[in-house]
Symmetry: C2
Subunit: 287 residues, 2 copies
């Protein structure tokens, strides 16, 4: 049975129960992270913790657990859930705790809720080989998409829209700009240049997105944090989405129309291979 | 000890526990209502249930409980929590249930979570006598503010901003338009006309707001669902906020500057009295 961490204790997942007054439940008043685990090692843990720390500050939530505690808890969950080999994820969520319902913050002595769990994860190699399809979806979200909160109804509705259309992901479009996916960032290749919406309050600054930008620079691929638009879609040479469990995923169809040649492109493939080399630095990917 | 309703059972509040996998906690994937109870009677229950029903449809959540069940559960909570006399509220929340985390909807047989509680409530008569102060706050919310979801972080941050400034409420401003409060609607009197932002996807269509518009028409007060703007604030003759626990609350100061004469205005007072006459139709308000 999976072991999770909740508010200072490790316990079987089924025994983990929340107060009905948890502000996570009542207001979605919390932030989360999903970190990749490869052969027992946390991937880019520092970047996840930096983002978490910034998000907590943005919503003015000051947890008891330090960031170092969170790494220790994560490592124990990796051990207790037999994730020392193969692929997995650590899910982390911190909310403002349980207190009588008031919109404003609860009393200062309210203990925040800290939840971490670990799970095995199957890398979607088949999908990566063929590439996936996506659909566009109006970006109905708030203007602080850079904070990784659990206020996720727009992402839920967008992803369900993708499922309804039998495709992998929905891509948010704000006005005419191509922003990001429901739980991924996105990149296009236009005139040989790799482009993605700029880091700002309108997108979530993905850890994999940042790594891919770094890798592109290392590989000598021209890369720009500059928006592209719906009108540019027919001209895209390549398109892909990125994420902690998505890695670099080639997109071969947008709204039913092929991207470029309709097969995964060469820049996409090089970037995935470079990312895989980092992910599997200790152990060969094919193992 | 308070008795609450959770997923088919009535139980003491402390015994009510949620699964850590509840989509209310993980995604804020649910809607809620707060209904006023006066001397054991639900106030405007029909309007609350109509809005609930519309919100459930908007997020595509189909609960097992019928709207009639919800009224029956509410009445039993009123009895079990001794709310047959005086003032109270019923809180209702429905989420998409507990299931392994996926952004898209869970399997069709996932039972949604239905939670109702009842509480006594103290009417803020003192504040109403003097009027309250408010501050403006940038409207950072999504573009479906008409759905009463528990994705409430913007409301939490806005209300906390009000608390930090020692005032009653924050008023969202989108671009230059005055929208509504963090948990209230708002009305201004300009050139003798009562104005409020139009029903649309950008505001929550409050039950009290709708009743107040009706009452204004009955009283012969000119009323228009038409936006007014930050630049109009210095010219406001009166300003007030409305809500299920706020009723009609005069605002005498916005961002530190007096509204009109700096005391509760005559149209505000007449509308509160007309609302009170409805609220306390069965029993005199002064009782």
């Amino acid at each position: 049975m999976p072991i999770i961490y909740l508010n200072g204790s490790f316990m079987p997942r089924e025994e983990a129960k929340l107060s009905i007054d948890d502000r996570g439940f009542i207001f979605g008043d919390g932030v989360y992270e999903v970190t990749r685990v490869v052969n027992g090692e946390l991937f880019e843990s520092g970047r996840h913790l930096t983002r978490l720390s910034r998000g907590l500050a943005d919503i003015r939530l000051d947890p008891v657990e330090s960031l170092a505690d969170i790494e220790d808890i994560s490592r124990r969950l990796i051990a207790d859930n037999a994730l020392g080999e193969g692929e997995g994820t650590i899910y982390l969520q911190i909310t403002r705790g349980a207190a009588p319902r008031t919109h404003h913050f609860p009393p200062a002595d309210t203990r925040c809720t800290v939840f971490l769990s670990a799970a095995k994860f199957t890398v979607p190699h088949d999908k990566r080989a063929t590439g996936v399809s996506v659909v566009t979806y109006p970006d109905i979200r708030w203007s602080r998409c850079d904070i990784k909160t659990v206020n996720l109804i727009p992402a839920v509705l967008a992803k369900q829209f993708a499922v309804d259309h039998g495709v992998f992901e929905s891509i948010f479009v704000r006005g005419s700009a191509v922003m990001e996916g429901s739980h991924t960032n996105c990149f296009g290749v236009l005139d040989g240049e790799l482009r993605t919406y700029p880091s700002s309050n309108y997108i979530l600054g993905g850890v994999t997105r940042d790594v891919v930008i770094e890798l592109a620079k290392e590989l000598g691929v021209p890369v720009a944090e500059r928006a592209f638009h719906v009108a540019d879609i027919p001209r895209l040479e390549e398109f892909f989405v990125t994420g902690t469990t998505t890695d670099v995923m080639p997109v071969v169809e947008i709204d039913g129309k092929p991207v470029g040649s309709g097969t995964p492109g060469p820049i996409t493939r090089r970037l995935y291979e470079a990312l895989a080399a980092r992910l599997y630095a200790r152990v060969p990917a094919g193992r």
